[in-house]
Symmetry: C2
Subunit: 356 residues, 2 copies
């Protein structure tokens, strides 16, 4: 039976990524060798890394604009400390927007490096909305925000205009919508939502902002060293990079980010419309900040949970329970989720309405 | 045509690891989902992580001895800085043995944290031997060594007796020979030699040595935080951990480390005997320090290189050229390399002797 995988991450990827990466494990590029046993310095893998780095910049519209793309390891959580290590001056100051659990985790690490100003926070309201109308200190070394809050189902629709470097954690919505990516100085994203399997982290950096904070940075935490080594300062996570390249190529073949965004909007509209129409459900996040990636919703009457849970499981839906800090349900509808799978969930919601 | 993969890492793994991991990408545990799309918090993956961590301690004979096994990301190069961050006191001192390129890279990172004493070095002789007869300062916070030097083909046959914590980078020979692993306080190893594909790093820690150096450690670099989170502080490199578990199970099924060591000794003996017997070849490393994992050797007459290179390539051998800092050849004969493949190389060496 076909599964409809609503997992928040690691999550659904295109079927052709599964098929091609499984094949590469048995025989990569007709070399007689597995992708798991080839040297990262082999011609075939260097080509994978080069193509993946170039395709990232191409998809984001950042070619020829002074940006570099890196495939690192350690997850977005490692970037929480790499960003201040590389950008915050000794006795400097960083500014952060506190819009959710991951933003808060990033703030915690920044505080180890110096003054960390929280420009606004929605923590008191359990992060149900994106704070707005805040001011960014003009003397901050950078401003950090989280574009999409996976756990709470909120998403920044616009980004502040500021003269300080703009850093964004896009782990859960990169490659999902067409925005002006050149407004950012650093974009980072754990692969395991829209880009590939867990195990690699994309970091896109405007090169000119590096080397200005005067700190001595350990080699593995130094963006400049990774750029100089063309993202091969040490052995990269070969398989995860390869599977990410397959996913990036799938996005390109689909028509790039604008085409993917159109489908994402249709999926989100289908699901939010049902949540708003069906009296048995209500959305969990502030309407204007609703995420097009993670749709959080609740039953108006929690007593229907047992029946609803049985119904969606029988329909082949998996990964729907909400995060413990929100409760209810979270339907993660990343790029690779087909609209047909969203329709299956909507059908179950309507069937529940009829059954009650 | 069957390939005989002598790559230094990433490198050959057991065929069943390729077969089973490719299958898990198409359908993991008959779940209808790919190993690449399941949540790391799912019951099935938590079981993988738990089993892998337990099997490491079982294979190393460290069960019930106060050790914890972690599967982290970032590669052994990230451990170069995590070790001093976790063990070196403010104004403390660390002691390092400089036996090769990677030992030297570890020393470079330690120097950022405090006084770093190099107890001995073979750098002046291009690391052709393992230094011996050195003294470890009794007031060092720890002593760090590299058990096997992948590039130069040398291997420590014994480890110093010392009262300071003993830290060892075993990236290229872990699980290859039966030694008393309880003499070490930290063992770390990038997966991509004997344990699995690139993308995860094994760290085995005697828990009692942590929390004593008084530093504030960033979360992702703090071993204690990773232990507390049972190696899931953040999303782990799911696929690399799974493929590592498959490799560890293969070692266990073979009879564990003692059985694997016996085969490794036979392979190394076969190849070194030919290098010593055949007048066209000579070993690159000091005889008593020769590695059983990376066999470095040279042609006595470099003019034969063209003929030899053509012959081994025709025999299906790949990954044989030596590292640029040694030249000649390097045959990496990790656990998964069958003795039949070593015989193929020996046959080519003998055929060269007849052809000249």
């Amino acid at each position: 039976m076909k599964k409809h995988n609503y997992s928040a991450g690691p999550c659904i990827l295109p079927q052709e990524v599964f098929d091609k990466s499984a094949q590469a494990i048995l025989d990569f590029n007709n070399s007689g060798l597995s992708i798991l046993e080839i040297s990262h310095r082999s011609k075939d893998f260097v080509a994978v890394m080069d193509e993946a780095r170039a395709l990232v910049l191409n998809l984001l519209g950042l070619e020829g604009k002074g940006y570099q793309a890196l495939f690192l390891a350690g997850g977005a959580s490692l970037e929480f400390l790499m960003v201040p290590y590389n950008l915050m001056k000794e006795n400097g100051k960083a500014a952060y927007l506190d819009s959710g659990t991951w933003a808060s985790a990033a703030i915690k690490e920044a505080k180890l490096f110096g003054e960390t100003v929280i420009v606004a926070s929605s923590k008191e309201d359990n992060y149900t909305y994106i704070p707005k109308g805040y001011e960014i200190p003009a003397d901050a070394d950078y401003f950090h925000c989280t574009s999409n809050n996976t756990i709470f189902g909120t998403q920044m629709k616009t980004f502040p205009k500021t003269n300080v470097p703009l850093v964004c954690d896009m782990s859960s919505d990169i490659f999902s919508r067409d925005i002006d990516f050149s407004q950012f100085d650093i974009i980072y994203a754990g692969a395991q939502k829209n880009m590939g399997p867990a195990g690699t982290t994309l970091v896109v950096i405007k090169e000119e902002i590096l080397g200005k904070n005067g700190r001595t940075i350990p080699s593995m935490l130094d963006y400049a060293k990774h750029i100089k080594a063309e993202s091969m300062f040490n052995t990269p996570p070969v398989f995860s990079v390869y599977a990410s390249l397959l996913t990036l190529k799938w996005i390109k073949e689909k028509g790039g980010i604008p085409a993917v965004e159109k489908l994402n909007n249709a999926k989100a509209e289908l699901l939010y419309n049902e949540i708003d129409r069906n009296p048995l459900f209500k959305g969990a996040a502030n309407v204007e900040d609703r995420s097009n990636m993670n749709v959080t919703f609740l039953l108006t009457n929690p007593e229907h949970a047992e029946t609803f849970d049985k119904m969606w499981k029988e329909a082949g839906v998996s990964g729907l329970p909400g995060h413990r800090s929100v409760g209810g349900y979270r339907a993660s509808i990343y790029n690779a989720m087909p609209i047909e799978s969203v329709q299956v969930l909507v059908d179950v919601m309507q069937a529940l309405e009829k059954a009650i």
